[in-house]
Subunit: 425 residues, 2 copies
């Protein structure tokens, strides 16, 4: 007797999984190793920026009150008593009609209250001493970058849950984070099921296919910020599969299996979940590909992701259900992908009884987004995955779409945008 | 005497640098280490996909000619002579009124020329043997995924110069690339110049700032696919700086220096380039920030990137001039960032005597792109870099812009799109 499964809408399935979100702990890593990690604490300014009054230009620091009488007819002379570059601090204090030659970024010397750009001065020698003259009155405070004018000490510069990019790295360095508090990566076990699977290094054999899902999911975990753990493969045998899953649980934060979730005679995952005492959150989603995607939760909250053995369905299942859980583990505030509207460049005549995710490539064409399916959407096709940088998300219950139609696009590679909600209508 | 420099347009500067593009060599890395690398050769299908005629469903394989007489009134019975899952090959040949129970992905058995879905059959036993009956005539070839219908052996699946993503990984695995030909990363040396620079782990000191450019550029090199090499810092001393640069050249494919390219009294890079016999391609670009960005080429074609010491200018200089050279080294066909048009969400009242790059965050709002500057665009500000995922690129010679205006956006994080041309007009 065939098992009857009740499909649930994609949004509902995502919400069910989201109830089992956990958060990772903090670990400290050297700054150079923090790229791509997620901050586990707010990153705080440990000093004002600028940290001291400094010169924004190459010029001379002096006292504005000494320039009062200057005019195009009447130049005023200053003795240049020191010469400092960025990083140097003059030990001298500027007195009346004295100046210090100062380079961009250097600290304003004591006694000075204005900087004049070098281009507006004339330098010369008098009695063997360096002098400078100027021909305009200056306003006190002009051309001085004030301590704290960009940032005050104590300000949160980067919130927790933010992915460390090169830009974030600059902030971490500025504020002395030689080691950085980042979220400990979740360990995601991967078990490949299926007697048909060859290793990548194997020669082809009759009736078999190479295991592409393992490498793909391994990479997807890395891309999302998790730590993948290859737990090997099991053939289509219940006991072997059950023991592989059971012994994996203590080694991982979450477990992904690929294959074995359909209703075929050798699809043992449903029975394994039952024997483990796991609650099956859903075993059928109203979507293509990936309708057999099954997610279960153990009593301790540990999630078991049963992804389809079909590569395209496996890919979609990961992006929709696993990635947000990894992101939330890493404290990312908006763990769901961004959506956008884009103009379809080609007809897509297939009807869509269920929500359909079509692998596609998004293009920016001026102010318009356009989107092109990257291949036949055969759910078994591995070959159209590579060029895809988004999914076209076609609502269930729709007929075909035509070139020029506006369609929803799920931007699974887009970080930063996105709110924790599902497809716009 | 102040040096006079002639600024050149951004596009011209990029083109000048592009004339020194070099390509990296191939190296073979294990599949698991290939994520984020660029393919150095075309990736070719080593077998047809499917590799054999296979079943797309759970069902029964049989001979269509045996179903001719079937109808809703007249069911026809078949003896089930075998039962195979994916990866299994039946040793049996199907004869008249025989069938083999077959699971999704399994090889069509010899003698069979059609598959019927399991839901359309009835199974029972007769004389202790398994039987199946059906009530409709079937067409020869129906429900068989034909060998090669997705991909033929020899087809180029992924071109060279493509970044390995999780999707690409699936293809590599499918076609047996246990080791992958990728481009050997260019080694990019980084020398930090400036007496004002503290290490990230140092406590703050009067007049000094922590070296944020090193960490940032190190990360930018990683993000672009290069191999950064921290060559330490030099203080504002000509001889020390000269020798640091000279001794770096044999260790790196390209060299980045940060700081020392302005016209201040301690900016030695121009003189160092001269002494090395390097051709200075430009030493002033008509842009803000980063106008002092200087690029020189040695007689052997080795590029020397003199980025500004100012963090925001340094960041822009890298993205505009260094990243495309790294991408081309990695054989990426379109090494330049994508542009898009987006609606400005806030006024940007500053006039733009030169091309201005404003750090900004791009949002997808329906079919419209909108863009928000991420901070004061003080060229010394490090703090607005972190949230930025693009630059607003404002043409030189323009006055301010207002909320609602369409502006050009340079998508420096966007892979895949982009053509090798500069800003649209």
């Amino acid at each position: 007797m065939m098992e009857r499964r009740q499909p649930i809408p994609v949004e509902e399935a995502i919400k069910k999984v989201s109830q089992y979100q956990k958060h990772g702990e903090v670990e400290w890593v050297p700054l150079k190793n923090s790229l791509g990690r997620f901050t586990a604490e707010d990153i705080v300014a440990d000093h004002d920026v600028p940290a001291f009054d400094r010169s924004p230009y190459d010029g001379f620091a002096l006292r504005a009150e000494d320039t009062k009488e200057a005019s195009s007819e009447h130049s005023i002379e200053f003795e240049v008593i020191d010469h400092i570059g960025a990083g140097m601090v003059s030990p001298k204090t500027i007195g009346p009609f004295q100046a210090i030659r100062i380079m961009t970024g250097a600290k304003i010397p004591d006694g000075a209250n204005v900087v004049i750009m070098i281009e507006l001065t004339k330098t010369f020698e008098k009695d063997g001493k360096p002098f400078m003259s100027l021909k305009r009155p200056l306003q006190k405070g002009h051309n001085i970058s004030r301590q704290g004018e960009e940032t005050l000490k104590g300000k949160v510069m980067v919130k927790k849950g933010i992915k460390v990019t090169s830009g974030v790295t600059a902030i971490l360095a500025t504020f002395g984070y030689a080691v950085v508090p980042v979220v400990k990566k979740p360990v995601i076990g991967i078990i490949s099921t299926g007697t048909e699977l060859l290793q990548v290094s194997d020669a082809m054999m009759e009736g078999k296919i190479r295991n592409s899902n393992l490498s793909m999911v391994f990479a997807q975990v890395l891309e999302a910020g998790g730590e993948p753990l290859d737990l090997g493969g099991v053939s289509d045998d219940f006991n072997q599969s059950y023991h592989a899953v059971k012994s994996a649980l203590s080694k991982v934060d979450m477990l992904i299996t690929t294959g074995g979730v359909s209703v075929g005679d050798f699809d043992f995952l449903p029975a394994i979940y039952e024997k483990l005492g796991a609650e099956v959150l859903f075993n059928k989603v109203a979507m293509r590909p990936g309708s057999v995607t099954t997610v279960a939760a153990l009593p301790n909250g540990q999630l078991l992701f049963g992804l389809s053995g079909n590569p395209a369905a496996c890919f979609v299942g990961f992006e929709l259900f696993v990635k947000p859980i990894i992101y939330r583990w890493c404290l990312k505030e908006n763990p769901y992908p961004s959506f956008a509207l884009a103009k379809l460049t080609h007809d897509f005549p297939k009807a869509n009884p269920f929500t359909r995710f079509v692998r596609a490539a998004l293009q920016f064409t001026g102010s318009q987004l356009s989107v092109t399916p990257t291949g036949l959407d055969k759910s078994s096709a591995v070959t159209s995955i590579a060029d895809a940088n988004c999914f076209i998300a076609l609502p269930g219950g729709t007929r075909g779409f035509q070139a020029g139609d506006q369609v929803n696009v799920l931007l699974f590679q887009h970080e930063g945008g996105g709110s924790p909600c599902w497809m716009p209508n």
